[in-house]
């Protein structure tokens, strides 16, 4: 029963007030993409033990999507941020580095 702060409404929300939306920072592959790229986009997901980036939906609240950086092992939350970005913002990356030096996730570190 996680508590995450929705960056849009600024409220700390109980997990029951949120919907999980899977992995964050996926890049969409549409028509013209290779079978391999499309398959990876649709099905291949990280399964890290440690730092992870995921999408959450403030469903019954403000209705906005946001991203959370979380440790899958301890449930420590490094921060939440707007979903309208293609990569984690610097302050989030810094917060993770402070707690988990040397972390990396997909192309981010």
């Amino acid at each position: 029963m996680l508590i995450l702060t929705c960056p849009n409404c600024g409220e700390a929300k109980d997990e029951t007030e949120l919907h999980a939306g899977g992995e964050a920072h996926l890049k969409r592959f549409g028509p013209g993409s290779s079978d391999a790229d499309f398959e990876a986009y649709l099905f291949e997901r990280e399964n890290p033990k440690g730092v992870h980036f995921e999408r959450w939906h403030c469903a019954p609240g403000c209705g906005k999507w946001f991203h959370a950086a979380r440790c899958t092992m301890t449930n420590e939350v490094f921060g939440t941020y707007s979903a309208q970005t293609t990569e984690p913002p610097e302050n989030i990356k810094d917060a993770i580095t402070a707690k988990r030096p040397g972390w990396h996730w997909r192309q981010f570190s």
């Binding site: 508590i3 997990e15 549409g30 028509p31 499309f38 999507w65 449930n75 939350v77 309208q84």
Partner: protein
């Protein structure tokens, strides 16, 4: 015999007699008793039978860890199985029956299993019942099912109410013993919001029973003074009969409060589930005494030493006249001294330690109690009650030295800290060699959102096993000011672990030495599991069922894994523990459900015309959270007759459908057209203002997800209709893409489903009734098929869509929701002369099937693409991209062998079974017939007076006229011909008038 003494009993009120019934016997106890103490006061030591061997079993504990004394409590709507007698408060009229015996507790035929115990070791069922294979289903399983389970399942509806309660605090403290009280005092004085909960009905835990001295005064006095101080603090909430049941991520604690278990039928809820969010959880949950593993340790009368003294001090109940105490630590001496003080016989203390006890040993000797050190119990004699014990050297193999008559054996194998709450969210344990126990590792607690541990333990739960240490631990953990509260207790000499008694017990003795009383797991069973290769503690647990009973191994866990470690030739920390999972003890299912039952289980959505439907014979169908009329029953007609009548009337005269539940989503903005072109498979940006278009939506994986009619309202506004169940989902789908992929597009969406009431006016007389209401021009010329217009009808402001899901002349008229009922009434009144009848969802389904229109959820099921359904015409070839386009280009999606939609017409006119498969030649690898198609929708068509169906069939559209075989469940076969899915009016002559 066990009996009530004339004096003593700090928790009972001897002036209030309470009568109760046990297995039909009328007995009585006192207010303050629990069921176990009241039964013992009536010499009822035998309280149940074990699960596997049906061995006679008596109470073994005085708390929630009790494995044996499980009862069927109450009757009818207040019946509850597997209630622990030790935690069931006594009340006037309590009705209890013991479990797991036939025909009676005293005489049980299942006890024959005990005679067969030699043939029923661990894993017996796995080994025995695997051959021959068919025997499992037809012979073994029915017999085993009959004998499985402990209590009976309740049959009547629960009469009581239950509720959830939300609370927030800085510190939640679980356990109202001295450590919990001390913790609350420190946190409360520091100004923190504190909730302190105690699972029992009284405060102070063991300290008053054990005679501790705290701060120079008897524990009882210190507890009263502390409570008084806490009650004076407004920031401290105190609750008894409330267990901290489970700890979950980020400081979430479940509290299980039993409000009316001692007063059935009282006002208010029976149980309350507290859902607490707290910054810090303090588990001051104490410790549980462990049994010793010696032969016959399950015979009624063998009881934990702490429980013997609890019953004596708390309830004034003596468990027997002659108590032999057997121990490996100092605490059990307290029991011997208490029994002796009460004037009862203690013929012997058997202390496995060669050194014996210190101060308490001296006290015992001074009281005239014989103490034998370095000794153990070879075996206990007795059947339904202990009669004697045989003493042996602990270091030997169990040769009896002496037999001592007694009727109680008070055993203590040491204490295990209650680490459950610490461990629920991943707090780690370390093995404490000196105290022979697992205790929390303070360095590795469960982590909260900020990366710091959010659970701490205090007192015995931390492994602080003396009174002074427990208070000091609470003081340190809570950061109390000054010095910890001083305390004294007489414990001096260390424990010596005893995992088997005697140390080298023979197989005969080991196979009578119980570890798990409820599930009948013995020392020999765990050793067998280890020999057979179940080396992991989790595997051994499941193979032997050790710790899998309702007590979840509270007594058996540590002893069991010590035996396993010994057998594997390793140490206890290498074996580790099984996983601790919430709840700590079973909590009622009803408390989990809380208020969510009956009418308020989930909210019902009602259209503005709902009441009219209810008053006019609606037979309801749940659709999402909506209730829609399946049909409207008139007089004595059946549901099927009503549906057939509605279809005929709509096709021949005039029908009204409440279509308000259809999803209505406004999509607006400069980029709305571009966005809808991505959402729908077909083109929406080029739709003209004033026109409607049927559209399909797919998932990114290519599968058909929803359909509906889209209307273009003005230059930058579209109104998208969705299926009834799809409105919220599709609105969410649109928002997800807008917010997370195309957030720079200027598009806004609004789900306006509930803002409008919508009525489908359908049938040859549809135009007539609208013209009679008058206002706007609804002629064929002014409002053409697939057009819409705003205007008035009968004085109502309306938007009229000329669309049809039935093949009839049809208008869907939207009015503001508040006017929905009035508009419906006006249509019913005006329509009377045209033969108006309302129709329900089944009529809607039949009419659409007659026209070959697909229904989301019937023809689609998450594996179907629009191309399968002959809907390629609704997939744009011009658009570069839409959601699902890339997916539909994959080889499997373009496979010509995908099953395709066709109509199916039974040869004999009957109705095909829903979901039936068309069989093909041959069989698959599992010996099942090959298939070549399946039915997706099937109805009796009143218009054609025959069964019609739609289905997906291999190469279906190329096989028109072929006949397929559809086996029914009863083995007979229906033959159906492949036909065009449009069964009725293929030219559309009826709708285009």
């Amino acid at each position: 015999m066990s009996t009530r003494l004339n004096t003593g009993g700090r928790l009972i009120d001897r002036t209030q007699i309470q009568n109760f019934s046990f297995n039909g016997k009328q007995l009585s106890g006192f207010a303050g008793d629990n069921l176990a103490s009241a039964l013992l006061a009536n010499d009822q030591m035998l309280m149940g039978r074990s699960f596997k061997y049906h061995r006679p079993r008596g109470v073994v504990t005085s708390d929630g860890s009790e494995p044996n004394a499980l009862m069927n409590l109450g009757e009818e709507g207040r019946f509850e199985p597997n209630a622990r007698a030790t935690t069931t408060p006594l009340f006037e009229g309590l009705y209890a029956q013991s479990q797991n015996h036939f025909p009676s507790l005293e005489f049980d035929v299942g006890a024959v299993n005990a005679k067969l115990a030699r043939f029923l070791p661990a894993g017996f069922y796995y080994k025995m019942f695997i051959h021959p294979r068919p025997f499992w289903k037809h012979i073994y399983e029915p017999i085993i099912r009959h004998s499985a389970g402990l209590g009976k399942a309740p049959k009547a509806r629960d009469l009581d109410t239950y509720e959830h309660f939300y609370a927030f605090c800085d510190v939640a403290i679980v356990g109202g013993g001295i450590a919990g009280l001390q913790a609350a005092l420190i946190a409360g004085a520091a100004g923190k919001d504190v909730i302190l909960m105690e699972q029992d009905g009284h405060w102070g835990g063991r300290a008053p029973v054990d005679g501790d001295i705290i701060d120079g005064q008897p524990a009882e006095d210190w507890i009263s003074a502390t409570l008084k101080a806490l009650e004076a603090m407004e920031n401290v909430t105190l609750r008894t009969s409330m267990q901290g049941s489970g700890v979950y991520d980020h400081g979430y604690l479940l509290g299980y409060q039993r409000l009316a278990d001692g007063a059935p039928g009282a006002d208010g809820p029976r149980h309350r589930l507290w859902r607490i969010r707290t910054k810090q959880i303090v588990a001051a949950t104490g410790a549980i005494e462990r049994p010793l593993s010696f032969a016959g340790n399950d015979i009624p009368g063998v009881v934990l030493a702490s429980a013997v003294r609890d019953y004596l001090v708390n309830f004034g109940v003596s468990l027997g006249d002659r108590t032999v105490v057997v121990t490996n630590n100092d605490t059990a001496y307290l029991t011997a001294l208490a029994m002796k003080d009460a004037g009862l016989e203690v013929p012997l203390i058997v202390d496995a330690r060669t050194g014996g006890a210190g101060a308490l040993g001296e006290a015992a000797k001074a009281a005239g109690i014989r103490v034998e050190t370095g000794k153990g119990i070879s075996s206990v004699k007795g059947g339904k009650r202990v009669t004697s014990v045989e003493i042996c050297a602990q270091a030997g193999e169990g040769a009896p030295l002496e037999e001592i008559a007694c009727d109680v054996v008070a055993m203590s194998g040491g204490w295990s800290p209650v680490v459950h709450l610490w461990s629920h969210c991943g707090g780690k344990l370390i093995w404490n060699e000196a105290e022979a126990m697992f205790a929390p590792d303070p360095e590795r607690g469960p982590i909260g959102a900020d990366g710091a541990a959010f659970v701490t333990t205090a007192g015995a739960a931390s492994g602080a096993m003396t009174t002074a240490a427990a208070l000091a631990d609470a003081h340190t953990k809570l950061g109390g000011p000054g010095q910890p509260t001083p305390a004294q207790d007489p414990l001096t000499n260390p424990i010596e672990p005893v995992w088997m008694m005697p140390q080298s017990a023979s197989y005969k003795l080991r196979s009578k030495a119980w570890l798990d009383f409820q599930n009948d797991v013995k020392v020999s069973d765990v050793q067998l599991a280890a020999r057979e290769g179940f080396e992991s503690v989790e595997h051994a647990k499941r193979y032997t069922t050790l710790g899998m009973a309702t007590d979840q191994g509270k007594l058996s866990n540590i002893n069991g894994l010590a035996v396993l470690a010994n057998q594997l030739g390793t140490d206890i920390p290498s074996v580790g523990t099984t996983t601790f999972r919430p709840p700590y003890t079973p909590i009622s299912m009803a408390a989990i459900a809380g208020e969510a039952r009956g009418e308020i289980f989930q909210p019902i959505r009602k259209t503005p015309m709902h009441d009219w439907h209810a008053q006019n014979g609606a037979h309801w169908e749940p659709v999402g959270h909506w209730r829609r009329a399946y049909t409207y029953l008139r007089g004595e007609e059946t549901i099927s007759e009503a549906v057939q009548r509605e279809v005929k009337n709509t096709r021949e005269a005039l029908g009204l459908l409440d279509a308000s539940t259809l999803g209505k989503i406004i999509v607006k903005g400069p980029d709305a057209g571009k966005f809808l072109d991505m959402m729908y498979t077909n083109m929406m940006s080029n739709l003209k203002v004033g026109r409607c278009r049927y559209g399909l939506m797919c998932s990114e994986n290519g599968f058909l997800s929803d359909d509906g009619v889209v209307a273009r309202i003005d230059e930058d506004t579209w109104l998208c209709h969705t299926t009834t169940g799809g409105a919220d989902r599709i609105h969410g789908h649109m928002e997800e893409w807008l917010q997370t992929e195309w957030w720079d597009w200027k598009v806004y969406t609004a789900n306006v489903t509930e803002q409008y009431a919508q009525v489908a006016v359908v049938g040859p007389n549809a135009r007539k009734v609208l013209e009679k209401l008058g206002g706007m021009d609804v002629s064929a010329e002014a409002l053409t098929f697939m057009g819409w217009a705003d205007g008035t009808l009968g004085g109502f402001e309306v938007r009229a869509y000329r669309i049809s899901f039935s093949g009839e002349l049809s208008y869907e008229i939207a009015v503001p929701a508040a006017q929905g009922r009035a508009f419906w009434d006006a249509l019913m009144e005006a329509g009377e002369e045209f033969g108006v009848m309302p129709y329900g969802t089944e009529c809607l389904h039949i009419m659409r099937a007659e026209k070959g229109f697909i229904m989301i959820g019937d023809e689609s099921d998450g594996t179907v693409i629009p191309q399968d359904l002959g809907l390629s015409w609704a997939i744009s070839k011009k658009k570069e991209d839409f959601i699902g386009k890339r997916a539909q280009l994959r080889s499997h999606m373009t496979d010509p062998n995908r099953w395709k939609l066709v109509g199916l017409e039974t040869v004999d006119g009957s109705v095909l079974p829903d979901g039936a498969y068309a069989v093909a030649e041959g069989a698959n690898a599992n010996g099942q017939r090959n298939t070549q198609g399946r039915v997706t929708s099937t109805y009796h068509s009143p218009t054609l007076d025959r069964g019609i169906a739609m289905g997906l069939v291999l190469h279906g559209p190329d096989r028109m006229g072929e006949t397929l075989d559809f086996p029914r469940v009863d083995g007979t076969v229906v033959k159906a011909r492949i036909v065009d899915p449009v069964f009725f009016d293929p030219e559309g002559e009826k709708q285009n008038v």
